[in-house]
């Protein structure tokens, strides 16, 4: 059982090896946020090009195929789910709930991979 008693220093002998979980979670949160922002911007632009008459001349042929890219959908779904869940995790933590940082990160990554894999599987015909 873990106690809060004054403890001897833990075995820190391999701290510089392996992943620094905080960096992984911070970068994933940041990158997923950027992906979402880019998607919103691109989506707004595409809708404008498709439906706003003065911009319709820009309606390039590549817009349609671009929207059918499975990897793009997968990355977007992963980003949406990860950013939402990790943001909620931060919020809940700030309200006093103790959450293990390793478990929460890998749990959220796992959950976020589900829609990504589902999307890729759908395109692959599974």
């Amino acid at each position: 059982m873990r106690t809060h008693a004054i403890a001897l220093p833990r075995d820190t002998t391999r701290q510089s090896r392996g992943l620094l979980i905080g960096n992984v979670s911070r970068l994933l949160h940041r990158v997923s946020g950027v992906v979402i922002i880019l998607f919103v911007l691109a989506h707004t632009l595409v809708q404008a090009v498709r439906h706003f008459p003065p911009l319709m001349f820009l309606n390039a042929a590549w817009l349609g195929p671009l929207q059918q890219q499975p990897w793009l959908h997968g990355v977007l779904y992963f980003s949406l789910v990860f950013h939402t869940l990790y943001g909620l995790r931060l919020l809940v933590g700030d309200l006093g709930v103790r959450i293990d940082y390793r478990l929460s990160l890998w749990g959220i990554v796992g959950l976020s991979l589900l829609p990504l894999l589902r999307e890729w599987g759908r395109y692959a015909g599974f």
């Binding site: 106690t3 809060h4 008693a5 004054i6 403890a7 001897l8 220093p9 833990r10 075995d11 820190t12 002998t13 391999r14 701290q15 510089s16 090896r17 620094l20 979980i21 905080g22 960096n23 979670s25 911070r26 949160h29 931060l90 933590g93 700030d94 309200l95 006093g96 103790r98 940082y101």
Partner: protein, 232 residues
Amino acid sequence: MNDEMTVEAEIRRYSPGEDAGPRYERYVVTGAGNMRVLDVIRRIYATSAGDLAFQFACRIGRCGTCAVKVNGVPVLACQERCVPRMRIEPLTPFPVIRDLVIDRTEIEERYARLALTPAPPAAGAAQPLPMDPGLAERIGHLDSCLACMICVSACPAVAERPFDGPAFMLKLGYMHKHPANDQDRVDSAMESGLLECFGCDACTQLCPADLSPAQEIRELRRDAVLGARSRS
């Protein structure tokens, strides 16, 4: 288990005022397979670079004096096991006095500014302060912070934002819980950048005293939002 190993260490050498800029000097050290980074530094000092500046005291991970960055990760040199290739640097973002020795003046000034001493008992009150045993245990644990600044060096928010760092937040959290505290520590924490923390727990992962500054930050934030009564 104790086989010999050969370590290739690159040490950042810099003496402000004397050198034009920092440089990395390469040393090869052979020693026991379980040697620590501090053993390598001391061997280099003894055999190859007598002018190398570094500091250590206890050699058992209790003083926090020997903290350095190894391959970009802040660690206690006396505790960290060697890897075959190591780049050893002083802790960032602190000013360097020389080589691996950082200037702790600003750190000490910040600690002093935060007034991290419990208020003295009222005159004539010689009785010990009554304290819940659970709280005493928790406070005792928080008091085992080494002030080694590993957490501050690892903190991405310190590098990007006006944030004093996890070590100071931990001390403020400690005082916030202390029954003899007579100041608004949440307010002090807010002034020190409480809201700038990313909540990434890098400080928790690297703390050599097995503390969680990130948890203290979360508890201070919770009290900032919900008030101190929300404490369990």
